[in-house]
Symmetry: C2
């Protein structure tokens, strides 16, 4: 491919709407173009990258006996009504009517379609286990698309679905897929990806893991214990708090706390540490607007995912008006008799505590001396708190937790029978008894993976693509292309590199070295070969890697061999550990 | 791949909803499953076929300097408003609103997206010509999906868009693509595909061609001259009629024709041949309901595509009520003064005719002796007629036309500046003057192509896939798998065939020969290898082609070589003529 024919523009200026490097570089490098919020077109370089990623994924899925199939993008709503998700998923599920008025949806995930495809096939135990997967366009009407390909509305995804007759069999397969994913990320150039326990969210099921690339621009927070290796998405990480209880309990006493609406103000005023206070966080259920108050230790925050999972329904921060009877800023668990009859919940962090400060449900008043055991003996406690930096590791019990940011590049779920049961897929076992098969599902976003690799491997001038997914393997530069002898030598090198089976992008434009190299940096091809009048005088070509770890002059006649060797070495770097 | 692990069911009974063979066989063979009207999921065998087809297409597109890109499935309506198609296309364009209420469409074709992608890049003449293409899911909300994958709502399509600075350059590229398409269809196993001139329809532009696989189940009618090679879609074929004019013109005379509402009845009653009559065909414009009457020779039919193109707007058969003043069954061009003021049009077939019968615009009366020259001297004539079997060839002038049915497997269009103009894409030429680039576009439906190949190559037992796109190359059957020695020999053969780089599906189920062979027939793999106790006694394997043209016994130790040779020979058959 000659660079002067490559469709797409490269430019220097950072686009103002790009907040992360991968986005800015991929726009500047002519990889992608904005079409609508969270919707992009891809130019050839990105298409070449994603095709290579898809082939790596395909290869690893085939190795664990996956069968590639294809589900529709547009599905009848009736299929999603079977599973119950047509009503349970919010408006990120795109719903519309076809010309006949039939309600349809755009696939954002394909559990329903997978069950529909194999419902009849999977009617006998001897057909299990099996796994089907597809690589297909999906649409998720995200409220806040951001960061280029990191969070989009339309995306290409590999989604796989496995079917089993026992939990043991699912776990065995889950483990295979777990390892296949590790190989995929290593082959795509980010072996540093870590696996963390995650929350299963709208997918249902219990056990699930996410593959995270740690980076400050990540959207997820991950709790890591460097000591024992514990890793979990903050949404799923158990918060363990050592509660302190003073020897003697003071009396419960109402105190005047005028105009103090936050627990910080009150603690300061009363000279109490925030750990000795109860903070009230108020939500409402989406479906019914019912109020939910969580009491949590003043220095901690509520993990809304844990709360949603506990309630089994979606919530939003409460709108507190006069009618509901809740006295905002002065909410406490004692004598709480608001007219709206809120659901009262307690986080484990306040269990057995005493001498606590809390609201008195009366404007400008708080209580001191609250003793949970004495004053609220019937309280039940659950884990609703966010784990914190320096918090206790749920695995080894040390105070070692580090919270980092990460991009989720893949996920795997043990789904159980959620979909087979709701969609009535059954098989007969050896005794002729009917059961619901157990499912697993396994996803990787292709575009997000490409962007993540770019985040992990770039400098200020452009991406530094790993050899395995680079748009081309070799970037050939002809310096001073107006010089006939040089141009001829470069043309010859182009032909020879191609004949050696290498993927070459060839820049023979009559442009300055500055333009030529900045374009090459933006394309991020791992190996660069420079033919120039000066080099030719010495009968050499310069061979340079994009990351500058190799910079050598090679005799012209040995260049093709040297480049082949280098390409192979760089490819070896993308081989997963055995 | 072992057949007993292949997800999908095969069965004998023809599904009642399948009207064409390819559909029935692909459902019976476990290739596809119905999800909703015109929407299917694909099992692994079909996915393997379509991937091979896609790779053939990709290879040929790359050879003519195409650059693979990707456009979105979901696009903002604003993009389609730019081209004007948001309002001009009927409800086959799927429109909906996203979560923010922004109007969106599902891509049924991507001219708008292509222009949007390269609008800035293509700002200078020296960047031309270029071609970009994608292989992507499309959705067209067809009113009447039918015949399985022949006419669906959701489909995978290769769509390509070329951009040029002159008509000559477009034509040169168009010709390259024309030939690339011939190679694609030959490589996919249907070299018999013919190219016909077509109507450009909603795409705009003037010259366009369709690639047609002739088959009685086709949806299109094609006019072919076996003598000179002229070929055109009936929608686009010019109808040439030799008008006869009698020496003497009779007088125009009103005659009583009671209760005769069709031109056939009247001609019979008056003992006139239908060629001596004017038939009135009445339409209404979709937008305004304005009436349009076409007068055409009694023995001919109106080609509605020609009429639509002439009018520049869509039409539907008229509803004739009392108010419009048209006397149904007795409509004629003389003294036509219906209140609705219809637009009167004449087909070339009645030009210069005399002694014609026509309606008298009065119930139960017709005229005889109509002389077009004398009675309607101001009439203008246009070609609105359908070409007929035995009609005159527009190219060589002989009465040789044969009308056949065909499936459109691909199409190519010269679009002109329709999209670049409406979407304001311009480039500066060498003199610094601004112009609109000229476009071509080129489509192939991948699933329809697979189904068409199946239509062309099948027998009553299943598809007979060409080697180039077959789901597997070799189908290995182990007869009497319960016999240990046979099973071992077959296992060994399976390993050796795979080691030789062949794609093998291996059936070692303990089932009858009948079940085994009917399943093999349904999968349509071109080469079958049979290992059986009887064969092993003779130290041979049976090697049979799906089409039975090769049936031989080969010594076990030579089988792999013989199969490799046969696979290569069958692959050669899919090589396009030079």
């Amino acid at each position: 491919m000659k660079l002067d024919r490559l469709v797409g523009e490269r430019f220097k200026e950072k686009p103002s709407d790009c907040v992360v490097d991968s986005h800015a570089l991929m726009v500047r490098g002519g990889y992608m173009k904005f079409v609508a919020n969270g919707i992009y077109s891809s130019f050839m370089p990105l298409k070449r990258i994603t095709k290579k990623i898809e082939n790596i994924i395909r290869d690893e899925m085939d190795k664990i006996d996956g069968q590639e199939v294809q589900f529709p993008v547009v599905m009848p709503a009736s299929l999603w009504e079977e599973s119950g998700r047509y009503s349970s998923i919010d408006n990120s599920l795109c719903r519309f009517k076809d010309r006949n008025g039939s309600p349809m949806v755009l696939g954002m995930t394909h559990e329903e379609a997978a069950v529909q495809l194999v419902r009849e096939y999977g009617n006998s135990y001897n057909r299990y286990p099996f796994m089907i997967y597809q690589i297909q366009t999906k649409f998720r009407d995200e409220a806040r698309p951001r960061a280029g390909l990191i969070r989009v509305r339309e995306f290409t995804m590999k989604d796989a679905y496995s079917f089993h007759t026992s939990q043991e069999d699912l776990e065995e397969y889950y483990d295979k897929c777990y390892k296949a994913y590790e190989r995929i990320f290593a082959r795509a150039g980010i072996p540093e990806t870590i696996v963390v326990k995650s929350d299963s969210g709208m997918m249902g099921g219990s056990i699930s893991h996410e593959y995270m690339l740690l980076t400050p621009i990540g959207e997820d927070s991950i709790a890591i214990c460097p000591d024992c290796g514990y890793r979990a998405n903050m949404e799923a990480a158990e918060s363990i708090i050592k509660n302190t209880r003073d020897e003697a309990s003071e009396e419960l006493k109402m105190v005047h706390t005028p105009d103090m609406h936050t627990i910080e103000d009150v603690c300061k005023y009363l000279d109490a540490p925030s750990e000795k206070s109860l903070k009230a966080v108020v939500y409402q259920k989406n479906a019914t607007d019912e109020y939910v108050i969580v009491f949590i230790r003043g220095d901690l925050d509520v993990n809304e995912t844990k709360l949603t999972n506990f309630l089994g329904e979606n919530i939003h921060p409460a709108v507190i008006d006069d009618e509901c009877g809740i006295v905002a800023g002065f909410i406490g668990p004692v004598n709480m008799d608001a007219e709206c009859k809120p659901l009262i919940l307690f986080d484990s962090s306040v269990k057995d505590t005493n001498n606590m400060v809390c609201g008195a449900n009366k404007a400008d008043y708080h209580y001191t001396g609250l003793d949970m055991q004495r004053d609220l003996p019937d309280a039940e406690y659950h884990d609703f708190a966010k784990i914190r930096d320096g918090g206790i590791c749920p695995n080894c019990g040390k105070e070692t937790i580090v919270v980092s940011r990460g991009i989720e590049v893949g996920n795997i779920f043990q789904l159980g029978t959620k979909y087979t049961k709701s969609m009535n897929m059954t098989y007969l076992d050896e005794k002729g008894e009917s059961h619901y098969p157990i499912m697993g599902c396994y996803g990787i976003g292709v575009g997000r993976l490409a962007a993540s690799v770019c985040e992990a491997h770039h400098d200020e001038y452009g991406p530094v693509w790993p050899m395995s997914i680079a748009p081309w393997q070799v970037h050939l530069c002809c310096m001073r292309a107006a010089d006939e002898a040089t141009h001829e030598a470069a043309d010859k090198m182009y032909e020879e590199l191609q004949n050696a089976g290498l993927e070459v992008i060839y820049d023979d434009r009559k442009v300055s070295a500055g333009v030529m190299f900045s374009d090459a940096d933006l394309l991020g091809v791992p190996v660069r070969v420079i033919v120039s009048p000066r080099n030719l005088k010495e009968n050499v070509c310069e061979v340079v890697t994009r990351d500058k770890t190799v910079q050598e002059k090679v005799p012209v006649e040995n260049t093709v061999e040297a480049v082949k060797k280098l390409v192979n070495e760089l490819m070896e770097k993308c081989r997963p550990a055995e």
